[in-house]
């Protein structure tokens, strides 16, 4: 223990001339789930893209388990142990299910608690095993989400970022995704969870950061926020 999984401090990001993230700072504790919430356009996905290096950003500090990852390429950041389940799933549609998993596969760091293999993933998501030779583009939305999660797990990350995993999924599938998130938290993985589904996020998260138009509007424990409906209403305006 001791070191935090992810420390972000003074993150500023730009799209062309517009300044979309202003001095965003937060910390993900090891083995915990941080819910990153906010209205549409608050900058959540930009924040995720900046962490994985897909959006160029200025940061005072960006540390993964005490080691700076600021300015590294997306592939280097991935190799350092950040997994991504991106918004819109973005599985590789012209690859088969098994290819989606094997292109991402690599062993985790020495001494890492859980090591995901193809068999573990198939055990966790039996439907992927049934469809392993199928083109990923032909899967249903829920199956694609399972695949996106599995693909990230195959990189054996130390920290995993979920960007709106429940988006566009049937309620039953959302329940399944939630169960997966809980299981991953129990396995000791550190998680950042971006969600529009606030009820789901507050159920699973330990800590919460709320973004509003690119600024951090609130930081605190999920439990406290869960109990404070007025504050939720004020921050997120829908619940």
């Amino acid at each position: 223990m001791g070191t935090d999984a992810l420390v972000i401090s003074g993150l500023n990001a730009f799209y062309g001339d517009s300044h979309v993230l202003h001095d965003v700072s937060f910390t993900v504790k090891q083995g915990q789930v941080l819910g990153l919430l906010g209205r549409n356009g608050a900058g959540k996905t930009t924040c995720i893209s900046a962490i994985v290096g897909l959006v160029r950003a200025k940061t005072a500090r960006l540390e993964l388990f005490g080691q700076s990852i600021a300015g590294l390429s997306p592939e280097a950041i991935s190799l350092n142990g950040i997994g991504l389940v991106p918004q819109g799933r973005r599985i590789f549609p012209s690859l088969t299910v098994i290819e989606n998993l094997t292109v991402a596969a690599r062993r985790g760091r020495a001494g890492q608690r859980s090591q995901w293999t193809l068999n573990d993933v198939y055990e966790a998501f039996p439907r992927l095993a049934e469809r392993k030779q199928q083109l990923a583009g032909s899967l249903s939305g829920g199956e694609q989400q399972m695949l996106a999660i599995s693909r990230a797990l195959m990189t054996n990350p130390r920290l995993i970022l979920f960007d709106e995993p429940s988006e566009g999924l049937a309620p039953q599938i959302v329940t399944e995704v939630a169960a997966v998130l809980r299981r991953l938290r129990e396995s000791g993985l550190s998680i950042v969870l971006v969600e529009q589904n606030i009820r789901l996020a507050l159920e699973i998260a330990d800590d919460v950061v709320v973004l509003n138009t690119g600024y951090v509007a609130h930081t605190g424990g999920a439990e406290a926020l869960r109990a404070d409906g007025a504050r939720i209403q004020q921050l997120l305006g829908i619940y």
């Binding site: 897909l54 997306p74 590789f92 012209s94 290819e99 292109v103 991402a104």
Partner: protein, 286 residues
């Protein structure tokens, strides 16, 4: 009847040459998002290098190898020293490849003069294959065989190996591939060198059919472009089918409507771009 068969075989042979050129062009375009406008120049330079190798005593087969390796090395240098510095600036990359194409073309005139050079055919493949009243050059049948073998080999590389799956993942969604830890610093040189080698070796192989002359580069590049637009960017199957279609159109068009040859070639491209911008087998719009 004979006319249709012979022109059909000619179209198949020309389409085969196009496939050797366009498969690499398409992969580079699909993965690196670079329209490599020096690809035609690589083809021509490879042919000239092959000629010089043969003049120095190398066999035709060794000359193909030398042409391929020389252009692969050139491609590696250009990728590492120039294109990589311009990552994320597609327009600058395309313009650079155009500049390189001009430089190569000028250097070729300087070194090999402006006179067209015939390329001798390997003796074992000279002559014609005869059946009934039909005669067809054995060498062209050989070129067709090479292209189909190459298609099978590339298919195996892309569809049956992990490296191939990584390349296809990059063509599907490059940013996501990178975020999964797939290194572009490995994939890009591999694909660029492979494409360059195919262009260089293809130039030597095409020599006995097309001969080598200043302007061969600008004759071939638009055809490769049409093939890729027709077939779909980054798709091997697309490059294969597109090459054969263009080969047939070229062959029959030149014979039947010589005045309209270019219109017949580029009309399908215009139609595809307007009606189906992803090409027949592609996923990305141009």
């Amino acid at each position: 009847m004979n006319f249709w068969v012979i022109q059909g075989l000619n179209g198949l042979a020309f389409g085969s040459l196009l496939f050797i050129l366009a498969s690499g062009f398409s992969l580079i375009f699909g993965l690196m998002r670079i329209v490599n406008l020096s690809h035609g120049a690589y083809f021509m330079l490879g042919a000239y290098v092959g000629i010089s190798a043969m003049a120095a005593g190398a066999s035709f087969w060794t000359a193909i190898l030398i042409g391929g390796v020389a252009i692969a090395v050139l491609g590696a240098v250009i990728e590492r020293l120039i294109l990589r510095r311009l990552t994320g600036q597609p327009l600058a990359q395309v313009l650079v490849t155009l500049g390189i194409a001009f430089i190569i073309a000028d250097a070729c005139v300087w070194i090999w003069t402006g006179d067209p050079r015939p390329v001798p055919m390997p003796r074992e493949l000279a002559g014609a294959f005869r059946i009934h009243q039909l005669a067809f050059p054995i060498y062209r049948l050989f070129v067709i065989g090479v292209a189909f073998t190459l298609a099978a080999a590339l298919w195996f590389l892309l569809e049956r190996t992990r490296l191939g799956a990584m390349i296809r993942a990059g063509v599907d969604d490059l940013n996501m591939a990178r975020a999964m830890g797939i290194r572009t610093s490995v994939l890009f040189p591999v694909v660029f060198c492979l494409g360059s080698a195919l262009a260089g070796a293809g130039g030597v192989l095409a020599g006995p059919i097309l001969s080598v002359y200043p302007g061969l580069d600008t004759d071939m590049l638009p055809l490769a472009l049409v093939v890729v637009i027709l077939g779909g960017v980054g798709s091997l199957l697309g490059a294969f089918i597109g090459s054969l279609i263009i080969g047939f159109i070229y062959s029959y068009g030149q014979a039947l409507f010589p005045d309209l040859a270019y219109m017949i070639l580029f009309l399908p491209m215009v139609l595809v771009l307007t009606l189906r911008p992803t090409g027949l087998f592609g996923r990305q719009a141009i």
